[in-house]
Symmetry: D2
Subunit: 250 residues, 4 copies
């Protein structure tokens, strides 16, 4: 699978590292906002020896049409900004290029725009694209349906400078129909990110815990998404949609 | 649902406490090995005020046939010994009384005997009957199918005097096709029981943790099993069988 | 060491169990409020075979003076109510009987009363008398002095019906000069009691965790206190005072 | 304090980052084995804007004598190899330059060599130089002396490819006089490093946990060591020696 990547910030670089190391995909290019590093090789920049993959382009260097014609890809992975999809979306959808975007928040009109694109191609949007977090949310939903009488609480731990409540914790709370008061936020030192869902039974406790180690986890999630969408048709998907089939045990 | 309980050791007493407090079942009697406390009321013994429930019988006091005729029940819950089912099984199955047994190990011929009973009635056998542990095993199975490349390890913690490796940990290892070397056993002080399955992804970690608080957790599991079997037909079931429908999200 | 125990509620019974099993003390008597079980043997009640220890008296049965004359003890352990010490304190102090009280809150005038008693005998008052919690508080104090730049947060988990913030968590916060906002309270199911102090360093995290299993932990703490006070003179002590010598490594 | 750093591998770079950011020290130079990046600025390489600090020298570029004369420092921090100290040690000790080395293993004759150096200057050698781990070891030692009857177990978790048992876990076991069987090693995915000491009391459990986030933790430890040694005289020190004064509460 040939892949193009939008975004080369901290998350984008981590995602590029994963894509370059995967035998299942070929990273054709990265489009970034700034023109620093223009035309440099991604593997060289990341210290990976692989001359054939990944050229870095600047956002303003190519009209998207020409980019997709001269450097065609099967999937676009987007870790850039909320505006990017407006630029590349129509051309990508026309070519039935799969779109995987991990932008944390889109304005409503952009969500509608993506929905429209999904009539022509497979598109996935997920603010948290790690496999672990999405698994945890679904597992939690199931345990709640088995034992609706349990008390559910969420602990999320992050680095001191993270101001707001974790978006992932909010999504967990929403999915499990919990009050925001159920989220306990710990802010301490350099903790990368830990989410814990506690199910209090009268005489036993179940804990589902997800710990982030580095941003590369986003890369594995995006890769999983892009590969899984190969077998799906047109339509708008979430990470949950891709995981649900694994839960159907019989 | 009218319930009879075999076994009044530590686990049996804890299970009786749960059954007495549930609005969904009526505990009709308890059969125990010794004749201490014979004809005493279970609620009185356990300090629960409820005069109508639970008389304690001694094992040798009644022929099972007469017991089931004079004190009919819809389900039998068995926390006694590996022999008990041989005594009550045939009479119970004939009357289509649901059988829920949590005996940790049966000789092969008794397993065959129970299989035979299950042609006439619904029977469930589960060495670990807590909801939490069985949920954890199924959730672990799913996560392994989603991410077969993860490294899976099991930590089980129990009180110092527990000699052997936890049976539950062995079942988890077996279900996830892990080597017994994957089980790390901690023995320290008075820890009631903790099981943790660690899924090591390259850049994230998922932990599924079950902590036992008291033996009453067995009671909730047995109660769940007995009630769930009401809607099932004849056949031999495991706790997994009863939980699987909750996993089918769509 | 001969010991008398005031209080035979849930905590008192658990403490009695520990005292009866210790080779270092002889439990002479228990004084309880109600006259239920009057003159019964403590070991018999608790199912421990030991005929020589522990008679149960009712509070109103004996004038304290006569009790201490006819059934002399070296130490009194008090898990009863805030009033009890007013009744036995003066007579105990006069006889230089060590006083260990674990009452969670005393009115200021009772605190003054105990301070006065401590001029005549060794007296210890500690609202949380477990060794683990008191160790954790002192260790936390030290780590804060080593690394004052760390972010410190407290998570306390208890059973659903516990309404207020854990008193132990408040004491930890106070000792470490933390805002009450640093305490995150989880209330779920039947969790007995867990306290966690998180020290967030920029690139590492230290966690001090205490988990309660049963109330018997109070008994071990009270026993430790009573035995440790044998080597101390008159004065008012806290659990911290008794633990501090162990921290002086050189 | 003027500091020179030996070693610019993964650990060395992380340590340099911390030193550059500290207001308490000035990183004068880094000596590395290879001559790649020779004469480049450390801050520039690490993406930190600070032109005045840190020039990178190659090992073979300078005789140590000339290096220390022309670029004098108050302390040397060594994250390079077991041989380096043999080259710089004598010249550094002669000038009473403090030596902080975090090399994981030295041959016995090098240990003797360092001991000799410590007659002329303050020298510290510690295979694990993080504050958290060393605090945890001392706290564990104290808790064992308070409650020698507890069962102590160690869990250490690291990335899959770490073959041997963690050296830190071995040191913990040794310090607490535990059998190597007490160490349970979990190897899973990309876990950076977690050490947990479990103290099993009969009715409570205490856990001391250290989690590594990144190698920069070594930098904070080395910095703490170098600064603490300013107030000490000549002699050979360990991290424990520097932490012990904080434990003397009275």
């Amino acid at each position: 699978m040939r892949v193009g990547l939008f975004g080369f910030g901290k998350a984008g670089k981590a995602v590029a590292t994963i894509l370059l190391q995967s035998p299942d995909v070929h990273l054709c290019w990265v489009v970034r906002k700034s023109n620093v590093l223009q035309h440099r090789s991604v593997p060289e920049f990341l210290g990976i020896v692989d001359e054939e993959q990944g050229v870095i382009f600047s956002k303003d260097e190519w009209p998207v049409q020409q980019l997709l014609d001269e450097h065609p890809v099967d999937a676009i992975i987007d870790f850039s900004s909320a505006e990017a999809v407006l630029a590349y979306g129509a051309e990508a959808a026309k070519r039935e290029v799969t779109i995987v975007t991990a932008i944390s928040a889109y304005p409503p009109e952009t969500v509608d725009f993506i929905k429209n694109l999904s009539r022509q191609t497979a598109a996935l949007w997920s603010p948290n694209i790690t496999i672990g977090v999405n698994f945890m949310i679904l597992a939690g939903k199931i345990l709640k349906s088995i034992a609706p009488y349990t008390d559910i609480e969420i602990i999320e731990e992050h680095f001191k400078t993270k101001k707001e409540v974790s978006g992932t914790a909010r999504i967990i709370a929403e999915t499990l129909s919990l009050d925001e008061m159920s989220i306990k936020s710990v802010r301490a030192g350099g903790i990368i990110g830990k989410h814990e869902i506690i199910f209090g039974f009268p005489y036993q406790t179940v804990r589902l815990i997800h710990e982030s180690i580095t941003r590369e986890a986003f890369g594995n999630g995006a890769l999983f998404a892009a590969l899984s969408l190969m077998d799906r048709g047109k339509g708008l998907y979430s990470m949950e949609d891709l995981l649900i089939p694994y839960f159907n045990l019989r």
